[in-house]
Amino acid sequence: MANSPIADDAALVARAREGDREAFTELVMHYQVPLYNMALRMVGSRDDAADIAQEAFLRAWEKLRTLKGNPFKPWIFQIAVNLCYDHFRRRKRVAAMPEEGQEAHVVSLGLPVPDPAERAEAGERARIVRDSINGLDPDLRTALILRDVNGLAYEEIAAVIRAPLGTVKSRIARARGHVQERLLMFPELFARPVDDQEQQHER
């Protein structure tokens, strides 16, 4: 998360490596929401995403000594991304499972609550975006999610997936291109942008 400076992480990691569980719990607090949401967008199922996040924290705790002086954030994401790939292999399929039980456990956090009609349309938009992401191959999906769901910088993503910056840049662009193609199939929900929208941003 943006408000978790690397220096803080490093201090917490140092304490946790001495066996300080409280320090590690603070790291869990910092990263549980981004990590869970990364896994959720990767695998599509809330239960599986929660399993992956839990397992990632357990592995991180146990292997904390191998981290040496490296930053915690890309490391914990790397562990969780690898678990997502394990999940795909176990499933022997790459497509994510549809999210189940929408109404039952959806919890909106930190979001304005729109009226029911808006909510229905937003729900439909979200479903199409999720489907588009699920249609990506895992490498592209990972790059897109780390960038546009988690907001990681290219350098951080490069550290997570252990690939050069050029690869990161190219995967993000290709993933966005594929998603864009899918979204344009639903012009009533994703209107084509007008030119001045962009100029306003640029000036």
Binding site: M1, R17, G19, R21, F24, T25, V28, M29, Q32, V33, N37, L40, R41, R46, D47, A49, A50, A53, Q54, E55, F57, L58, W61, E62, R65, G101, E103, A104, H105, V106, V107, S108, L109, G110, L111, V113, P116, A122, A126, V129, R147, D148, V149, A153, Y154, K169, I172, A173, R176, G177, V179, Q180, F190, P193, V194, D195, E198, Q199, H201, E202
Partner: protein, 270 residues
Amino acid sequence: MNAEPELEDLSAYLDQELTGTARQQLEAHLQTCETCRRRLAALRQTVSAVQALPTEAPPRVFTIPPQRQQRTGAPGWAWAGGALAAACLLVVVTTIGLANLPHGGGMATTNAPASRYQGGADRGPTMTVTDPQDLSKQLTISSGSTAFSADQGTTTGSQAAAPLAASKNQPLQVGLILQGVPGDGVPANLTDAHVRLTLLRDGYEVALANPDTFSAARENGAVRITATFRVGSPPLPSPAAGNYVLRVTWQVPDGSGVSLVAQVPVTVAN
């Protein structure tokens, strides 16, 4: 730049990851090329659509069981809800018994582990959500029981586990804890507390009317509210019996525009 920019460059430009000459060349090209301005705008809209996916709260509390030691590879781990001593302070979301809703008729009756919320209305399911942007803001809802009768005097034969006898006078008791309300005022009613309570089933939504009883108090920086409703009074869809979700929406009164939403299952029996 004579050649048209690649998708890669437009994409990196959006992310502020294009630097130096490459960036200058792209900006110069955009000045003169409407097609590329449109490409960029379309890409920006795609990114916004992905970014607009809601951030969801984890359905469980992530803990490291005490027996898990560093450096050892002890096999097998289990969820340990509330195993941490400080878990009650660290709970982002505790979801109890929501997993079966609204598909099955069975209701979970588990109580929240390690909950510090031991008010009078928490015999039934409880849920707590925290604003991830501001951990001091927290909303808890609990219901006094999970099963009620919608009509007069009918017993709930199929709801043997229901903790309360069903009658039209059986109140639906709701407990709310609003953590992080500035000042020391005590709300006089739900509206005053910026709280909205609704019953939902299959997308059908009923806003609960004024409660029969309402009480609020301040305690440790939180506002605690207990309210009771007659289940027979709201205009429930027909047939009224079934599994509902009791949802609370709290518009956090700090000008952030943030609403926290929590919900617990409620069964209305015939």
